[in-house]
Amino acid sequence: MTAPLHEPTAKAPPSAEAAPSAAGESAAVDGNTKSVQGRSLGRIAWERLKRDRLALAGGGVILALVVIALLAPVITNLVGQDPDAFHEDTIDALFGTPKGSLGGISGDHLLGVEPVNGRDVFARILYGARISLLVGFLSALVAVVLGTILGILAGFFGGWVDAAISRVMDGLLAFPQLLFIIALVSVMPNDLLGMTGSSVRVFVMILVIGFFGWPYIGRVVRGQTLSLREREYVEAARSLGAGRFHILFKELLPNLVAPIVVYTTMMIPTNILTEAALSFLGVGVKPPTASWGQMLSNAIDYYDSDPMYMIVPGLAIFITVLAFNLFGDGVRDALDPKGSR
């Protein structure tokens, strides 16, 4: 996929083949006559991204979601709802489903109420966004940090270091991670490092999802490093007496930023889905903490009698993952001029 060999930035001008083409392309499309020199890759990418409406829309949705998640307590306070409060008066006692149509949607309960206990779905969706985004972002962060460091080391040093790290990556990629997480959660203590209840589960989910995700980034970084380390500018730095540390983090790393960013944006929605799957299977956050996957799982018993209860969290997951994927696609296209669309 990303075979892109991103060109060194202004810092490392020696490479001559591709830089003009990128600059030339952007100049041609821009149609401006200003100097094409001195524009950074980030700048060029941003220019391209700005023209990709779908990506921008995705980015806007992500931004909105983050704001909503951060402000969840404020928003629910404003509409006067508590995600954990029961409202059994809104429930038909005979069937356990919400009174009224569309899952009990009303002025009080904007997205209806949950069957059986009448908790406000709107408030729970907002609080569920916190869990989804927290796990999605932080587990991606864990994966990126681990994957970048180990990938760059494997690619740069080669030899037994590469062999060892590569075999570990192969092993992890072949590992049935979902089963492992389910098993791990069931033997986990209730209290861990001073945390209790759902925090323990969230912490473990972040670590485990991140841990199983790093080889995906690690492989790409390793491959890129392998090709970059033979480049002239690296040779030049080496012949000028630069140390390994300098080459790794000052010469190579900046040129790996593009694929890392692309993979991160692609990884976040996958992690959000994994979190939803785990909660769906009952090994995610603990009740009463709200989570989209858990809501979907509860909704199975009511797919016929209260379809809204399944549609709302389903849409939330769908929109979130779609937004991340659109944005991720846009970022990839922007950073990777040679990538085919």
């Binding site: 009740p287 018993d301 009511y302």
Partner: protein
């Protein structure tokens, strides 16, 4: 998939047959479609629907779960005990009558309910003439003794109730028939068989519920030469009106008439259908749909429709539904080895603080969940007072919880600001988790922060059944339910409340009640032969348990049970808290 195709073919065949019948006969067909019932909602609760004596047809059960075993010695499932009456007989059995009368005993293989002598220590039964095995040989007293002796072989035949073993051989002196060194393998001293038609039980201690234990399928006769030990459950040798034709575990089971069985020898069983067929489903929603569509006659497990099927059935086929009690009391127990539940005031704080209506709603509401439970003795047990005994005003003034009283109890317990604890709940049923969440939400209001810990329901005996583990995990509240093995306070409450029944694993006395007054009442109950006094003692035991605040009862569970319009002689019995399978019949097919 295959069953669906088969069903489509069968429907075509039925349609073709109907056309032919229509051409051949001029008489008009009466009645509605096969699956609708004119009897009406809850009609089989306490009376017989469609009384008839028509023979023939195939009675079709649909089960979401196979029996734990079809070996009479090894099953602990209520529906399996109910079903076993098709192919097994006992000395005494439950009356085939609706409601409470159905929990009474009547002679079966025996000619009477037994002669009790020696102050309740000796029971003598005479066997009825003409009772035979499926190969035509007579059922003898030795067969009954051998069948009961199999309870001692727990290493090979685990899983079933062992009441007779505990009562007849409390010290475990007899090694069981498979390690018996006597030639006839009938070495158990407590049972004597002076001749082929007489059997004498000698109890070391009297137990007034002894006849109830003889009515369980685990007291059925088994013929020694047909005992295939651990494989017996795959093809039990029949003493009843039906015998095993085929059995594929988890798929299907079919019984056909036992031609050697004689109606004159059996005062209980009428044997109306020609064939009894069971199909097992892996998906409860699929099962419910097929029941409602009329492809099957009734649910084998007798646990009620799932939420989805409940909706459809209540809205479209209400006349096919009964709303009986399941015999279960659903409750929370407070293990006293977890602080602060060693203090009765903290236990009572939880009872007062809980929102009982919310708990009822979480369990499915008044119809699918049941009436609010106010004490621990369910309605089918003699001595129960129903909702009239309500020491904590659970279904009365405080049914939505009483925060002020709860706070008083918290202060008396020395925890005026509440405390942290953990609720243990099985993870395999959404309704259990919903119950835990309801309790969690109402306890939050009185300052008790409860975490919910969901454990694997298949591991109950090692997780909440181990007091050491309960203490380690800090399970202050354990959510569970219990139904009686036989309808008496001993059959219901002894494992839960008697201090002698606290076990290191597979414990059921979750609250770890060790009250000498309760233990003494149970001992006195076992010796008492007068039914009225027994009932009064049951009431006293129940009061002692409630006064200690060891339990928070949620509901006297009810469920919605599907009855097809084809069925005749349908009624609910308190003996099994489901339809009485053994005498169900079918309307003649048109």
């Amino acid at each position: 998939m295959t069953t669906q195709r088969a069903s489509a073919r069968r429907k075509q065949a039925l349609a073709a047959a109907a056309v032919v019948a229509g051409l051949l006969t001029t008489a008009a067909c009466g009645g509605g479609s096969d699956s609708t019932s004119e009897a009406g909602y809850d009609a089989a609760n306490n009376k017989v629907v469609n009384a008839a004596a028509t023979k023939g047809g195939t009675l079709k059960f649909a089960g979401a779960q196979d029996g734990d075993s079809w070996d009479t010695t090894r099953s602990y499932y209520g529906f399996a005990w109910n079903f076993m009456r098709y192919y097994s007989r006992q000395l005494v059995t439950y009356k085939t009558e609706p409601g409470r009368a159905g929990a009474g005993l009547q002679p079966d293989l025996a000619t009477d309910l037994g002669k009790v002598t020696d102050g309740g220590r000796t029971y003598t039964f005479t066997l009825r003439a003409g009772s035979t095995w499926e190969d035509g040989r007579p059922i003898t007293a030795k067969d009954v003794k051998y069948g009961i002796e199999r309870q001692w072989a727990q290493d090979v035949l685990s899983g079933g109730p062992v009441y007779l073993k505990d009562i007849l051989d409390p010290d475990g002196a007899y090694p069981g028939p498979y390690q018996d060194e006597s030639a006839d393998k009938l070495g158990l001293k407590a049972i004597e068989t002076p001749d082929d038609t007489t059997i004498v039980f000698r109890l070391p201690q009297p137990n007034s519920d002894f006849p109830q234990m003889l009515a369980m399928p685990s007291a059925s006769p088994v013929r020694q030469d047909k005992d295939t030990k651990s494989k017996y459950g795959l093809h039990p040798f029949s003493s009843g009106p039906y015998k095993f034709e085929s059995y594929e575990p988890g798929k299907s089971l079919e019984l056909v008439r036992n031609t050697q069985w004689k109606e004159a020898s059996d005062p209980v069983r009428k044997a109306y259908p020609d064939t009894v067929a069971v199909t097992f489903f892996s998906n409860a929603n699929d099962l419910d749909q097929r029941l409602i569509a009329g492809d099957y006659d009734l649910d084998l497990s007798q646990t009620g429709l799932s939420p989805q099927g409940r909706q459809t059935a209540l809205k479209q086929h209400k006349g096919n539904l009964d709303n009986p009690v399941s015999g279960y009391v659903r409750y929370a127990a407070f293990p006293q080895n977890v602080k602060p539940f060693d203090n009765e005031h903290c236990r009572k704080a939880v009872i007062h603080g809980a929102d009982h209506v919310s708990l009822q709603t979480a369990r499915g509401g008044p119809v699918a969940g049941g009436d609010i439970g106010t004490n621990m003795l369910p309605g089918s047990i003699p001595g129960n007072e129903g909702q009239k005994y309500d020491p904590y005003a659970i279904a009365g003034a405080d049914k939505s919880g009483n925060i002020a009283k709860a706070k008083e109890e918290l202060a008396a317990c020395g925890k005026p600001n509440g405390f942290d604890t953990t609720i243990a709940v099985r993870n395999n049923k959404p309704v259990e988790v919903a119950t835990a969440q309801s309790l969690q939400a109402s306890l939050k209001k009185i300052g008790i922060n409860a975490q919910i810990d969901q454990y694997d329901g298949a591991q109950t005996s090692g997780i909440v059944g181990s007091p050491a583990n309960v203490e380690k995990k800090g399970y202050g509240i354990v959510i569970d339910g219990w139904a009686a093995d036989f309808p008496s306070v001993q059959g219901f409450g002894r494992p839960l409340w008697d201090g002698k029944y606290v076990l290191e694993s597979a414990n059921n006395n979750y609250a770890l009640i060790k009250d000498p007054a309760i233990d003494e009442l149970f001992d006195a109950y076992a010796k008492e032969l007068d039914e009225g006094t027994k009932a009064r003692m049951a009431t006293q035991i129940n009061h002692k348990v409630m006064e200690g605040g060891y339990y928070l009862p949620f509901t006297y569970e009810k469920y919605l049970n599907w009855r097809s319009g084809r069925l005749t002689n349908v009624y609910m019995t308190d003996a099994y808290n489901g339809y009485d399978f053994v005498n169900l019949g079918l309307k003649p097919s048109k």
